[in-house]
């Protein structure tokens, strides 16, 4: 009996260690940097998930389940009145969010923000995004496309103000450059 309890406790601890930090970051992004609200949502979801750690063996399914639970908790709670914009901004900068991204995320609805974070930041599969949003695949695809569109529209003004040298590169920029290089290279050779 004691061995079973110990094994269960170990499993729960491992579950928390595996999912806790990223789940907290997800909640922090969806909650727009509200640390109190994000911590409460993540802790609640994590406690519920730890109780079902035996069932939630698959890491990605468990992660999607946890985010859905956290999103439900975030929908249920209101923003903390004592958190200042400076604190919110600092919380988001602390996990690597740039200024244009912070401003654009603030213009999205909570569900769209969750879809964008799950699909682009955490790169969940579409089925997991559907699980997180509580919709089917078509609904998840629609929510994701709408979130991207709104995000790109919101960031366009910020990005136009940035000088070209200040535009950071990333994984997507590298991929596009590689495809372009493959496409232009033969032409250059032909030329």
């Amino acid at each position: 009996m004691s061995n079973d309890l110990t094994e269960t406790d170990l499993l729960r601890a491992a579950f928390r260690d595996l999912h806790g930090a990223r789940l907290h970051g997800f909640a922090l992004l969806v909650a727009e940097g509200d640390r109190t609200r994000a911590a409460h949502a993540a802790s609640t979801a994590l406690a519920a998930g730890a109780r079902r750690a035996v069932e939630l063996r698959h890491p990605e399914r468990a992660a999607a389940w946890l985010r859905r639970r956290a999103l439900t908790e975030l929908k249920r709670t209101r923003a903390s009145p004592h958190v200042t914009p400076v604190e919110r901004h600092a919380a988001l900068v602390g996990i690597g969010a740039a200024e244009p991204a912070i401003a654009a995320l603030a213009e999205l609805t909570q569900v769209r923000r969750a879809a964008l974070v799950a699909g682009l930041v955490e790169r969940f599969a579409l089925t997991d995004v559907a699980t997180i949003l509580g919709t089917d695949l078509v609904g998840a695809q629609r929510a994701l496309s709408g979130a991207r569109r709104e995000y790109l529209t919101a960031t366009s003004q910020w990005m136009q103000n940035l000088p070209s040298a200040a535009i950071p590169g990333g994984a997507l920029a590298e991929r596009v450059d590689q495809v372009a290089s493959r496409a232009v290279g033969p032409r250059r050779i032909d030329a």
Partner: protein
Amino acid sequence: MARGKEARTRDPHRRFTEWLETNSVDDPPRDLAVHAAVCVACQQRISALDMLTAIDPALAGMPPVLPVPVVVWPRTVGRAAVVAGGVAALTVVGIGSWRLIEASSLVGPAVVSPTQAVLGGTGGPAPTPPPSPTASPQPSSDKPSTTEQPSTAQPSVVAPPPVIGQPTPPPVQPTLRPTVRPTVTPRPPTPVPSTPTPVPQTPTPEPPTPTPTATPSQ
């Protein structure tokens, strides 16, 4: 149709934007990638999406661990349960006591019922007739007869019929015994002729005396 296709072909900027909005997992088409490589606006859009991929949620750290929720009943619920249990116990005890009292009143002191008064004289053993030399020995019976047998052998000697309605004192034992069986209905006594019966002069032949048969042993 051809014009639309041509317009879309001419506008790689719009097509690349649509690709960004719908799918950034797969590689873009080559012509769009070439366009994006030289288009500042498209590079800004690419950079905006890359800002999202640069975020590392794990940097948020572990959330505070909530204790495992333990179901704690409120005090009012506990008190209500105690009160309900007490009321239930009192009810059970009360009903049990009442039924015990009711049962003891039925079994307890004997009450002389009117039935016993009416049938008091009939429940006992029949009075033994006076011994007569002509009386034939009756077969022994263990069970006392509750009915009076009119003696036809000596019509001159007639016992007075019991008067129903007045308790007749039993001759031997008091009838206030619980062995009285009220279901036994006494036979009506033989009506006594009002006129005296003339006694014949000739002696009455005696009936043959029954010989007691020996009971075979074993």
